[in-house]
Symmetry: D2
Subunit: 338 residues, 4 copies
Amino acid sequence: MKQTKLAIIGAGGLTGKELTGLLAHHPNFQLVHITSNQVDGKHIREVFPDLSHLPDLVFQKHDAAVPTDAHIVLATPNEVSLEKAPEFLGQNRKVIDLSGTFRLHDKAKFEVAYKFKHTKFEWMDKVVFGLPELFREKLKHANFVSNPGCFATSAILPIAILGNLRNQIVGPIIVDAKSGVSGAGGRTEEIQFAYTHVYENFRAYKVLSHQHEPEMEEYAFVGSEPKEIHFTPHLLPVYRGILTAIYIPFAKPVDSSEIQEKLQSVAEREPFLRLYKTPEELELKKVQNTNFLDIGFKVKGNTLAIISALDNLQKGAAGQALQNLNLMFGYPETEGLV
Amino acid sequence: MKQTKLAIIGAGGLTGKELTGLLAHHPNFQLVHITSNQVDGKHIREVFPDLSHLPDLVFQKHDAAVPTDAHIVLATPNEVSLEKAPEFLGQNRKVIDLSGTFRLHDKAKFEVAYKFKHTKFEWMDKVVFGLPELFREKLKHANFVSNPGCFATSAILPIAILGNLRNQIVGPIIVDAKSGVSGAGGRTEEIQFAYTHVYENFRAYKVLSHQHEPEMEEYAFVGSEPKEIHFTPHLLPVYRGILTAIYIPFAKPVDSSEIQEKLQSVAEREPFLRLYKTPEELELKKVQNTNFLDIGFKVKGNTLAIISALDNLQKGAAGQALQNLNLMFGYPETEGLV
Amino acid sequence: MKQTKLAIIGAGGLTGKELTGLLAHHPNFQLVHITSNQVDGKHIREVFPDLSHLPDLVFQKHDAAVPTDAHIVLATPNEVSLEKAPEFLGQNRKVIDLSGTFRLHDKAKFEVAYKFKHTKFEWMDKVVFGLPELFREKLKHANFVSNPGCFATSAILPIAILGNLRNQIVGPIIVDAKSGVSGAGGRTEEIQFAYTHVYENFRAYKVLSHQHEPEMEEYAFVGSEPKEIHFTPHLLPVYRGILTAIYIPFAKPVDSSEIQEKLQSVAEREPFLRLYKTPEELELKKVQNTNFLDIGFKVKGNTLAIISALDNLQKGAAGQALQNLNLMFGYPETEGLV
Amino acid sequence: MKQTKLAIIGAGGLTGKELTGLLAHHPNFQLVHITSNQVDGKHIREVFPDLSHLPDLVFQKHDAAVPTDAHIVLATPNEVSLEKAPEFLGQNRKVIDLSGTFRLHDKAKFEVAYKFKHTKFEWMDKVVFGLPELFREKLKHANFVSNPGCFATSAILPIAILGNLRNQIVGPIIVDAKSGVSGAGGRTEEIQFAYTHVYENFRAYKVLSHQHEPEMEEYAFVGSEPKEIHFTPHLLPVYRGILTAIYIPFAKPVDSSEIQEKLQSVAEREPFLRLYKTPEELELKKVQNTNFLDIGFKVKGNTLAIISALDNLQKGAAGQALQNLNLMFGYPETEGLV
């Protein structure tokens, strides 16, 4: 039995499965409890026939009793996390929530983006946003972490690590993201995700109206003047991965070497950031099944274009969750990931 | 034998094949001569086993004599078109060129974009840019037409039809396009187009450095003040289709109904433009194998986002070529296309 | 208005759409009535935004009155065809049915294969099986035609054209077919057809238990001794096309030149059969969007392996239906198809 | 440093990469030397940016000196393995070869299948065929192992585990396999593997003439009367996985429960065989990235159809190689794999 016990509530979905697979290879986390209201009663090996090193567990219903010494990963829908996070925190468990419920500090923006009333907003004072590259120290002492959205991570980090250069940005930043099916949300038996609707096809959705937009706006500018972000996601006919183009308008022609220096200094010290010489080198294949966020950039006139790539199930969700869990429990940050 | 005879030089490639298929269903154009330096000597049915209504032709070499009464479609590489266009024009044939060689009126920009010296620049005075929605009258009297680039069409038209509203644009326009493999150029046996490099993958290429960028800048602003366009294409793991996001910065909040009115008035009178109520309705499947350019838009603050979709082999190449040929030879503009 | 009027009952599905597209290019058939219980009330252009040359029609409900001079194409579920075929035949209309309801002459086998009771079995005396290569003369005089199943065509024809060589077959014939999603049936919003279930995946279904098996057994041996056929279909992650491997056991080593001579003599006189020198040359791309059935073979010891390829929506359904309609109404058999 | 050192000759290819990834997670094998004539000089992280836990190694040329205490994995072309296997064995290293060079004991059949002269045939007396489920005891004492072909494993095991029931087989067994691109061999920049040739396409290759056929014939009948196997592979538009249909003709109607009992008794004691209730449950997704061989069967008349599924890069190559290495070096057979 490994040192720290974890329960995943909502383990039957894609993110729950991804985290289960990662934990199986982690020397210090032991998965002891998994729940799913769709596959409760089934053995983990039956639901995930293509994972290995799995613990001997059976899916329980969401409201089954959780072993007392287990800490919590919530991979549940937003409205479920709303209730369960405070419930488990009240039992002195550490909680990391993968939903969007505890990410935004502006209640009005939350309600517009997520379309329901937030009845536990007092918890926003206690939660730490789970982006290690920005909030590493806070995460080391956090009992309650909100894991960022996949698109949000892909845009926030590249902008945030520009540091003080962000003060030269003059207008809304355009973020144009392209994601595989596993990141586009929705239950896969919906008609929009039928094979005939995705294969040999491509489309934009929630144009300038995705719920990750306020998240990007809140966190990309910590330590600098806030700017608007205008974000549009698209659905790619692939399984996993997000490539994001971030177009940043500056007041005057951008100095390429300044950007290079700033990005390089951060990437060199960050275990999960990789900076490429040219943005054309980025591709989903280089990040799939890894926790890396790859970055490349190009400058033209007053525009800085940064391309980023990550695996929406890894650095966009489960991988980042494990990175956060490592910090929360004092394990090496890259353990089980690199 | 149908009324007007055509020869396609370079008919063995994807665009040549697409046009061959279209001409087979056109009541007034008769394909009488096809060339290809790769499949010369082969019968058209052997090279295109999946097309129907084909004429009984054998591929010739590029320099084979062309029947005297045939007009010319050049589906050749840029450097080949450079020589052949003037050659055929000198024989009193009408010529439509699908290459990029005769699109730009700025010689310096041409040489930067296409990386070779233009030795026939005097012909730029005689050529008409093949965008019917903008240059219909000129095309009716043209002997020499340059067919636009696929990405170029996908961006120029949506911007150009904004008409006088373009004068309110305040900065560089961001164009972010996503294209299927048949539009991304290159010979398909290059390693970058190997199945394992495209499947379950996605990437940007020629970031802010694609040769269609000066073409967009030259034609999107005819009749208004020129602006910079910053263009990045991406390679989709699909066969055909381009979805393009165009982000236009205005001086002040954009009036959605103004945009609606302007776009709708143009779309209503244009046979190949379709305006959708929302941009989320656009998808490659609705335009594949058609000559339509679909458009939808969304406004946020000072940003107008227009999404466009077309089939790169149709409205992006062969379909548009046929639309131009109809005008050049006095046939109904939509003949063989709608 | 073209010469012969047709109505498609159930025109909203994939086969109905395919036939609609074909009829648009046929000089003598005029589509005058289309029905669908899912999209009734919608204009044909709205439902098929990617087809051209469409007539100006609105989808009606299945039970709407059909113009008196229209003949009928039934693209309806089996149980609906059961009722509607006799109904329309009783109105002196010619009927071609694309369902499986009127293909089998053995009532017991029908009920096992299709799992419902056949209450109109007397019509089996009047129907002609729609395989032109086998029943051309009967089809010329038929008022009622049952269009074959897609898999069935892919196996019946290659076996049947062996002619008297079939008498040397000694055991069950193994038929192993691989079909794109559009041929695998089922409503596309079923979970088994969700993108995540089809993409980067492959599986067999209805192993040795598909309803086309008795159809293959009934028609592949007309004029020879019947043999068992053991058939297994598989689901390919592509949109259209079926490649079928047919393994035929002979009593003694198979004479390759005998097979070549037999197949070649038939292919030479049949407009829609193409015989290749080697079976490795067959591929879906050569038949997609055509009405061809491609064939190639290889011999090893006592085994004759024939590979066939067709487009399940064309020669496997709508294309073959049009080929049959041409015969039924006295038009050139290849009209609108080649 | 882990206990047993390994070198992979030819580590830059797909199989080499797969094994590298597996070894990274194995507690007892340490990868100390990797070679590739294409990427020599490059760091392992640069060539495999999407693998984790990698050792700090640089690719060497094939003929670079190998650390003296390292044992050898040959992931080289057939002709290279021919020379290198004896060379390394002569240095007292254990060798496992993934090529086809040392699998067949019939020299004439080898030369027909692989099309070159075997100049080291004396080594066939020393090599052990790397199928643990059949040769476990021999493998525990083997110094020289030949890893089976991917298709071969997918067919040999299901037939072999029928045990004495194989004596009732009356004729050639038909094996019809469908493989993802990573298993179909060939250098991926060949035109046949260009995206446009594989996507939305499917075809058979080496019909009844693949080099794995004699391998299947040699090993599927160990302990029973030999029969002919007639084998045809096909190329699927997916990345990894092989689904194989095996049609076995018996003298009389097959007893389903007899088959069930035989297969189940073997599957229950074998860690990498999974038997499903029905063959329709098998799919590539359940075996991808695992070392499992899944099996299901259906009986009809005198035909037994067995469907098998495996990941060609795992149980079809690298996974099986690791399973063999575990036996060769005395580690638990499932270590690093389950």
